[in-house]
């Protein structure tokens, strides 16, 4: 086993909303009435069915309730064992699935307020991601600005499968707001199911949806790069969460080859895709889609040609590894330090500020 170093950052934790009704105290009268009068069901996404093996490690599954709903469990399973100073909470409650932008906005506001009260206020190590009603750019920007006043929100969270490719210009005001406020954009696995989950339609199985997340990340990365998001915002970081990363090198070889061939189509792309990824894109560590032998994995790290791309994550409570093996076998201590400490602090500007403040009383 590769040992963690103390003082790291866990960049992908999933606190669960126990039920839609848990958000009632954070909704106004109108929406509280809508939820109760209409008998709205809980917003659990098919991306993570509560009882699916991937949604919780067998030994992390609570006796009752949703995996990830208990702070004490998260502290005992994820925060303490890996000795992290910070853990970033990425709620996957299915607010992105609703079709009304007004309803999505109300639920996002409630979800973000719930995260502050039920999690961030209760453990000083926890940090949050701002969930946004992405169907409305205007409402998303308003929500980012509202939440960003609390320094404990360290990024904006979007899903990898949504209404439009994420590089589309319509989304740019979101990126401008995030850039202005020092927030990276986190893009997490999952779908609004507003489009089929693969580029060739609806698969039959849950496992197909999960495998397809990696392909969705690939097409999103292409979109973000070729639309020119990083020419407009050279300092903006985007973090691919629960994306897998072993696909990255061969994906970039292909993108780079086509970019060289037809860059006349997107002349505003001012740097090679490889270079853009190295400076602007980060990946959470889990899941590691690779064979268990350290030799192959170390070849893959070599193919990535950078030790700055990965950010430590347990993906708690999802089942990505067993025991304490969040860090794969055969990783050098230098790389562990980069992944657990240096890279997350370099990515999440707001964490750095806080750490510095705490060091100088």
């Amino acid at each position: 086993m590769t040992s963690p170093v103390a003082g790291g950052v866990d960049c992908d934790l999933h606190p669960a909303v126990p039920h839609l009704t848990s958000l009632l105290p954070y909704l106004n009268d109108y929406w509280r009435d809508q939820v109760t009068t209409r008998g709205m069901t809980d917003l659990v996404s098919q991306s993570y069915p509560s009882n699916s093996p991937i949604s919780a490690r067998p030994d992390w599954r609570p006796a009752k309730g949703k995996p990830g709903a208990s702070l004490a469990d998260m502290q005992a399973r994820a925060l303490a064992p890996f000795g992290v100073s910070y853990g970033i909470c990425n709620p996957l409650f299915g607010v992105q699935m609703v079709f009304s932008e007004d309803m999505a906005d109300a639920f996002c506001r409630a979800l973000n307020d719930w995260l502050v009260k039920e999690w961030l206020d209760k453990d000083a190590r926890l940090r949050g991601s701002i969930v946004i009603p992405v169907q409305s750019i205007e409402k998303s920007v308003t929500e980012i600005e509202r939440c960003a006043r609390d320094e404990r929100f360290v990024q904006v969270l979007m899903l990898v499968m949504g209404d439009m490719p994420l590089g589309k210009r319509a989304y740019w005001p979101i990126y401008a707001a995030a850039d202005r406020l020092g927030l990276p954009i986190g893009i997490h696995a999952g779908s609004s199911y507003h489009n089929p989950p693969t580029s060739v339609g609806w698969g039959s199985y849950h496992i197909e949806d999960y495998v397809a997340q990696a392909q969705a990340f690939q097409t999103q990365l292409t979109s973000l790069i070729v639309e020119g998001v990083f020419a407009r915002h050279p300092g903006l970081k985007m973090v691919m969460l629960e994306s897998g990363f072993t696909w990255l090198p061969s994906y970039l070889w292909r993108l780079h080859k086509f970019w060289r061939g037809i860059r006349m189509e997107t002349p505003w792309v001012d740097r090679a895709p490889l270079e853009i990824v190295r400076s602007n894109i980060r990946f959470s560590l889990q899941p590691i889609d690779a064979p268990p032998d350290p030799q192959t994995l170390n070849r893959l790290f070599d193919h990535m040609q950078s030790d700055e791309l990965l950010l430590f994550s347990t993906d708690y409570p999802h089942w990505q590894f067993d025991g304490d093996a969040a860090l794969p076998e055969g990783m050098s201590p230098e790389l562990v330090r980069k992944i657990m400490i240096d890279n997350p602090y370099a990515t999440y500007g707001r964490l750095k500020q806080l750490a510095l403040k705490e060091e100088t009383p």
Binding site: G201, F258, P291
Partner: protein
């Protein structure tokens, strides 16, 4: 590449073993719009003139993402006698087959009946394309072999076409396109695999086509480069579907070829499938072995557009993971992203691997060894 700058060697009188290649992705084109009419019933001539092909996309003529250049083809590939690139056998021989020492050229016609919403018309055009391949190409040059194109959205009709042509030596594979109405592992396509296994032909899945779905899981992207790069993501979804629907459990002798979508993604996809299957196999009890084993046993990849890392040891790692015995060299002639056989493989490859890559894997797979 747009234009071949390298001076072409003199055609060898008989291709010698060191330089002979199989080109597993050549695109033959029609010289005129009506070139197919002799093979089509009269009623369809009128129909096409009036309503056009009515595909699963909006454009009456041409692709919704404009290509980087006309017909996505090399600028030096227009035949001297006129017509689009790839429409003249004599010029294809002179520009490509002879100088590049092609001893086997697999034809993959793209503008066929595949992706046409009227399934009857789709079947008629596919059958016409198959006749046309024989008459215009394979009967005139024995190096060229055809692909049985089928109306893939209608499994029963497609299977009938495969059985009708399956033992004709003009054809070496069945050809599907990757972007279909549903992922290709689904049961509407099963008769195709059953028929292909029965007649002993591999099934090639070429990037492209239209099935009505947005070409990413987040809707329609803006640019041609996104479509081009995205073919490898489509192909991953196709392959995942085929494996997870149990196609190879039902058809243990079936081989499939992933054409023009790269191969570098295959190891990572295999590892992801295996890891997910370890967790979720209770959902897919018909998938009896780790998905990577089906891929290793049943899947081949054409090489173009070849992955092009900065360091050649990275390329060799990936080929080792995929298997030197699983790659089929292809140029994509006459398309603009043509891979030049003399430059595609960096130095440092053993002679047996080199021969497998350029020729022997293809001869073996297509039963021509």
């Amino acid at each position: 590449m747009n234009v071949q700058f390298r001076e072409l060697p003199e055609p060898a009188s008989s291709a010698d073993a060191k330089t002979a290649i199989a080109d597993c992705d050549i695109h033959p084109a029609r010289a005129t719009k009506t070139e197919l009419y002799p093979y089509l019933a009269k009623r369809w001539h009128q129909h096409l003139e009036t309503y056009n092909a009515h595909p699963y996309q909006g454009m009456m003529d041409g692709p919704p993402y404009p290509k980087a250049q006309p017909n996505a083809a090399r600028r030096d590939a227009y035949p001297p006698e006129g017509g689009p690139q790839g429409s003249s056998l004599s010029f294809m021989q002179q520009q490509h087959l002879d100088p590049n020492h092609v001893v086997l050229g697999v034809l993959n016609p793209l503008a066929t009946g595949q992706g046409i919403r009227n399934h009857e018309l789709a079947a008629a055009i596919c059958s016409a394309i198959n006749d046309w391949q024989i008459e215009k190409w394979t009967s005139k040059d024995c190096r060229l072999k055809g692909s049985i194109v089928v109306a893939n959205e209608d499994g029963a009709t497609a299977a009938a076409e495969i059985r009708k042509r399956g033992h004709d030596k003009n054809f070496v594979q069945v050809l599907l396109l990757s972007r279909t109405v549903e992922p290709l592992g689904q049961r509407r396509y099963w008769p195709i695999y059953e028929a292909a296994e029965e007649v002993g032909l591999p099934v090639g899945v070429h990037a492209f086509g239209f099935g009505g779905n947005p070409i990413t899981a987040s809707g329609w992207p803006s640019f041609y480069i996104e479509e081009m790069v995205g073919h490898s993501q489509c192909q991953q979804a196709v392959l995942a579907s085929i494996v997870l629907e149990g196609v190879f459990e039902r058809h243990p002798k079936l081989k499939m070829i992933m054409i023009e979508a790269g191969f570098g993604w295959a190891p990572s996809l295999s590892w992801r499938l295996d890891k997910s299957w370890q967790r979720l196999k209770s959902e897919v009890p018909h998938v009896k072995r780790p998905p990577s084993e089906y891929i290793r046993d049943h899947i081949y990849f054409t090489t173009q557009p070849m992955e092009d890392p900065e360091r050649r040891d990275h390329l060799f790692d990936v080929i080792d993971w995929v298997g030197w015995d699983k790659l089929l060299f292809a140029t994509d002639y006459p398309h603009w992203d043509f891979d030049d056989p003399s430059r595609v493989l960096p130095p440092g490859v053993s002679e047996p691997n080199r021969e497998a890559f350029y020729l022997n894997n293809a001869l073996k797979l297509y039963g021509l060894a």
